[in-house]
């Protein structure tokens, strides 16, 4: 199931440039790093789910191709969805920070996918020969965390609002800002949005209906239109 990347066909190296974690590295630096860190390579067909043995659960994973869904199961057996990673994203953002050692991590391919796993120690343990490479990659790792942190901050901002109405408006405000338009599609179903805002789905629908009736917003399924932006920014 797992093999070292260096033993895989060299075609894989060429795709690594585009991945955030390897930004700014030259071909030979990537090659040098792979020689040094011996990352694991996993390929998944669509729908395939594999469990990482615990000793691998804290590794930095880079999605080389496809789209994977990562979940964890804690000691009580509760399965928690962590995040969907798409090609180029590296979960270093998550794993290097949260300590998932000793939890069961599952990776599911939402389509045919390829993932490599990198031992964080290969970045963390000082090695003068590749210090410059390590440094570049660490910076990439920190940078890639920004996106995750912003996502969390945005959700926190929504969650700290006291009413469903305000939570919705906060959420739409973020959508509006990141799309630059007053018209956009949201990437969730109602159920998922309710879960994201930590409210009841029915109550969410009710509040959405009120906002529509008041002419603040309009929507149909995933498509939303903000009619009165005054309500958003505060």
């Amino acid at each position: 199931m797992k093999r070292y990347l260096e033993n895989i066909k060299t075609g894989h190296f060429s795709t690594l440039h585009d991945k955030v974690l390897f930004n700014g590295l030259t071909d030979s630096e990537i090659y040098e790093f792979v020689q040094h860190s011996k990352p694991y390579y996993i390929s998944l067909y669509q729908g395939q789910t594999i469990s990482l043995e615990k000793q691998y659960s804290n590794m930095i994973s880079v999605v080389v191709a496809g789209d994977v869904l990562i979940s964890s199961t804690d000691s009580n057996g509760n399965k928690t969805y962590i995040k969907t990673f798409t090609e180029g994203e590296s979960s270093g953002s998550l794993y290097s920070i949260l300590d998932y050692s000793n939890t069961l991590i599952e990776i599911e391919g939402k389509e045919d996918s390829e993932v490599i796993l990198i031992d964080p120690d290969s970045l963390y343990v000082t090695d003068k020969k590749i210090a410059v490479i390590q440094q570049k990659m660490l910076v990439n790792l920190i940078r890639s965390q920004k996106g995750l942190f912003n996502a969390i901050s945005e959700r926190m901002y929504c969650l700290t609002q006291r009413s469903i109405r305000e939570k919705i408006l906060r959420f739409l405000s973020f959508c509006h800002n990141s799309n630059g338009s007053t018209e956009f599609d949201i990437p969730m179903t109602r159920e998922e949005l309710a879960s994201y805002l930590a409210v009841d789905r029915a109550a969410l629908s009710r509040s959405l209906g009120e906002l529509k009736k008041e002419g603040v917003i309009d929507f149909h399924k995933n498509h939303f239109i903000v009619l009165d932006t005054d309500f958003l920014s505060k």
Copy 2:
């Protein structure tokens, strides 16, 4: 108000060892880094508040002595409390990740305090001469983010609970686990706890009273006792 650290009395260097960001660095490495990055030095008396000009707001700050409170004011004039940093903590955890450039950052000394500000570029821009130093510090930065991340995750866990009662129980569960005891002091006033859980203070008191009446917990001011741990873990 701000001067370069290297122009300050050398006594400051000796205290840097203990700071998370400088862990694992030798004296000469710290010296070398300071020479290279020219960090700013700020000293605050108790109660003093200073505003960082915008170009400094994204800097990595390390609290060398004392206890400081950091807040940001966004373009709408809303002042948001960010975090209290105590000696040794580096806000790199925050600043390197969240982009606070162009927001007004204020630093308030909760007691007489000293802070140094480090330009993130001095860690990010590759420089072969000090690559090893940079690498060590980047790892320290990532490690220090773990604490912040866990704190945020815990709060999120509380916030996603639907009722005040459940939010309280989640919160107490975390206190219980991190203290290892069923008896502990919480580091907040009621008002602050209410704000942390994003609920009304009066409603919080009501729920706390109910839990006390039911014999699940007992408390007096900041001191809490969990009487029935069955309620916590689930």
